[in-house]
């Protein structure tokens, strides 16, 4: 029982990390149908900028806010300088652009920062919380709570603000939204900035657990993308569900089956889910119109 619970805690810890990354994918995908492979770099920036500022004796809260702003600006720049000029390109061409962007951001980070691993102090200390013989780090709860808060925030934003509604309209039909007088370009820009900010928040929350380096974004993007697809692309709640399921699959895979193949087990779970639900857990099945 204690063992099972420990695997659960591990899965939730890792899963909430994936969920946070996947949420950033969701924001951009929703507004523009772009899968942004540079999302992992936003997360990396959140962690690395905070680390760098902290090293320069800036207090943690200030450093965190600054990092969120930096990542939001980078997101904005990514849209204005790379995605918007290539409007009309096919999805796979846009993916290649975001991959180029991720290489670029990584390249800049390795020059500006360094190539070592870094960490941030845990927000509520390192003393594990004991529960029925299993333990969980307080920071895991921060990450889990952060994912929840972002989901709720995104929901409130899209349901209860004019900008959010405009974003939803842009996502549903860009042309129609423009005809309705919405500045769709600005809306998509905003979504990139928002995704940058969400990514940076994720980076700050997870760095005490995952550690970070200029190179940390690649794998996070991979897992976050997988989690987003598992949940159904474009669904914030799906992103969280997908992330948690992925994390739990890895933890139970490592605990009960084989730690060497746990990543494989996670991907098999993804394949099985997608083959039975081709649009992910929460994705809508859209009939093709002819």
């Amino acid at each position: 029982m204690a063992e099972f619970l420990q695997f659960c805690f591990s899965g939730l810890t890792v899963g909430s990390v994936y969920a946070l990354v996947a949420l950033g994918f969701t924001v951009i995908y929703n507004a523009s149908n772009v899968v942004n492979f540079a999302q992992g770099e936003f997360v990396m920036l959140g962690g690395m900028v905070t680390v760098a500022l902290l090293a320069a004796s800036v207090p943690l809260p200030v450093a965190g806010v600054a990092a969120v702003f930096v990542a939001a600006l980078v997101g904005l720049a990514l849209h204005r300088l790379a995605i918007e000029p290539a409007r009309g390109s096919s999805p796979v061409e846009l993916i290649i652009i975001t991959i180029g962007a991720s290489i670029f951001i990584r390249g800049v980070a390795q020059v500006v920062f360094d190539k070592q691993f870094h960490k941030l102090p845990a927000f509520s200390g390192d003393a594990p919380i004991h529960m029925l013989g299993a333990t969980i780090l307080p920071q895991s709860l921060w990450v889990l709570g952060g994912a929840g808060a972002i989901v709720i925030g995104l929901h409130l934003f899209s349901e209860h603000t004019l900008v959010g509604k405009a974003a939803a309209a842009t996502a549903a039909n860009r042309l129609a939204a423009r005809l309705a007088g919405i500045d769709t370009t600005a809306i998509v820009s905003l979504s990139f900035a928002l995704a940058g900010a969400v990514g940076a928040v994720a980076g700050i929350l997870i760095t005490p657990i995952t550690l970070t380096s200029y190179n940390a974004g690649t794998l996070l993007a991979l897992k976050g993308f997988a989690a987003g697809m598992l949940g159904g692309m474009g669904k914030p709640l799906g992103a969280v569900l997908g992330g948690l399921l992925l994390g739990l699959a890895e933890a139970f895979g490592a605990g009960y089956v084989s730690s060497a193949y746990k990543d494989g087990i996670a991907f098999i779970v993804i394949l099985v889910v997608l083959l039975s639900l081709p649009q992910g857990l929460l994705g809508k099945h859209s009939a093709e119109r002819v």
Partner: protein, 314 residues
């Protein structure tokens, strides 16, 4: 009709000419080495273009098949005493069989969902290659036995330049033939509209599966060539980043065009060699170039050039 037919031969003729003429300007065997790598990567890219460019299906796990081909020529001769050439064939067969098995299920998925499924598939192959150390040597990799023809040991960049160049010419010819055939048209049709293709009598699932299998075989053969050329192979050959590289080659060169895939391979293989002058700014330059090509050369290099030289075309 004659225009199309001749276009096919022009592409092929130019390719052969380039392969034949390049050595005239090569000052050292290092150039042969880089060029051989370009040809080998281009074989995989031309194959992937059949899946992505013709049929419009994305694979983010195609390096998995590179891995199968590479390890076939590493393990077969070392463990079973098989002939290396036979192992290229066996690797291709294994890749085809696996593509058939996996493709039957995952090709039902569309767009990004297919992308993540193929990504997972490639990831699994890389994972097996890294974990089954008894067979594969693990993450440190394993040496690959040199091949010989009639007692003559095939080693050295020059030999492999010609070998891989010839194979690329052959692979390109096959791909171009396919493009202008019943099956090729079927693939390009389902790319634009699966429903209209199905109603024209095309078995969409079957055609996609064929494209997947053919692309897998191309990648497998390229993987075998790479392993034999390098004389050493590690699981990196099947990594996600390598899959992304292949996709980038196809897209940067111009999706749907075999010449574009070759050009894309040339660009992405030689870029790191150029960019060494930038030292620590190398990654920045690489990312920037990829973005700029995709932004300013819409649809990739070859289609942009075509538009430039044929302005009356749409």
């Amino acid at each position: 009709m004659r225009a199309l037919l001749s276009a096919r031969w022009v592409t092929l003729g130019v390719l052969c000419l380039v392969i034949a003429a390049l050595p005239l300007v090569f000052p050292s065997s290092y150039y042969y080495r880089v060029a051989a790598l370009v040809w080998i990567s281009a074989i995989a890219a031309v194959g992937l273009n059949i899946l992505m460019g013709y049929a419009g299906q994305v694979s983010l796990g195609h390096a998995g098949f590179l891995g199968i081909g590479a390890y076939a020529v590493a393990i077969g001769p070392a463990r079973f005493g098989l002939n290396s050439w036979l192992c290229i064939l066996l690797g291709a067969l294994l890749s085809a069989a696996l593509a058939w098995l996996v493709g039957r299920t995952i090709l039902r998925l569309r767009g990004h969902y297919l992308a993540i499924a193929t990504l997972g598939f490639g990831f699994l192959i890389a994972l097996v290659l890294a974990n089954e150390a008894r067979w594969t040597g693990g993450p440190d990799g394993t040496p690959v036995a040199r091949v010989s023809v009639a007692g003559f040991r095939l080693a050295g960049p020059v030999t492999w330049y010609w070998l891989s160049g010839a194979l690329l010419a052959l692979g390109t010819a096959l791909a171009l033939n396919l493009e202008d055939s019943s099956v090729g048209r079927a693939l390009r049709a389902l790319h634009d509209s699966e429903i209209a293709a199905a109603l024209a009598g095309i078995d969409v699932a079957r055609c996609k599966l064929w494209a997947f299998i053919i692309a897998a075989v191309y990648a497998s053969v390229a993987g075998s060539m790479l392993a034999l050329f390098d004389g050493f192979v590690t699981p990196d050959v099947a990594s996600f980043l390598r899959s992304i590289d292949l996709v980038a080659m196809v897209v940067v060169g111009g999706i749907g065009s075999s010449a574009g895939s070759i050009l894309g391979a040339g660009l992405l293989v030689t870029l790191p060699q150029f960019l060494t002058v930038f030292a620590e700014y190398e990654q920045i330059a690489l990312g920037l170039i990829i973005m700029l090509v995709m932004i300013f050369l819409r649809r990739g290099i070859v289609p942009t050039a075509q538009q430039l030289f044929a302005p009356r075309r749409r």
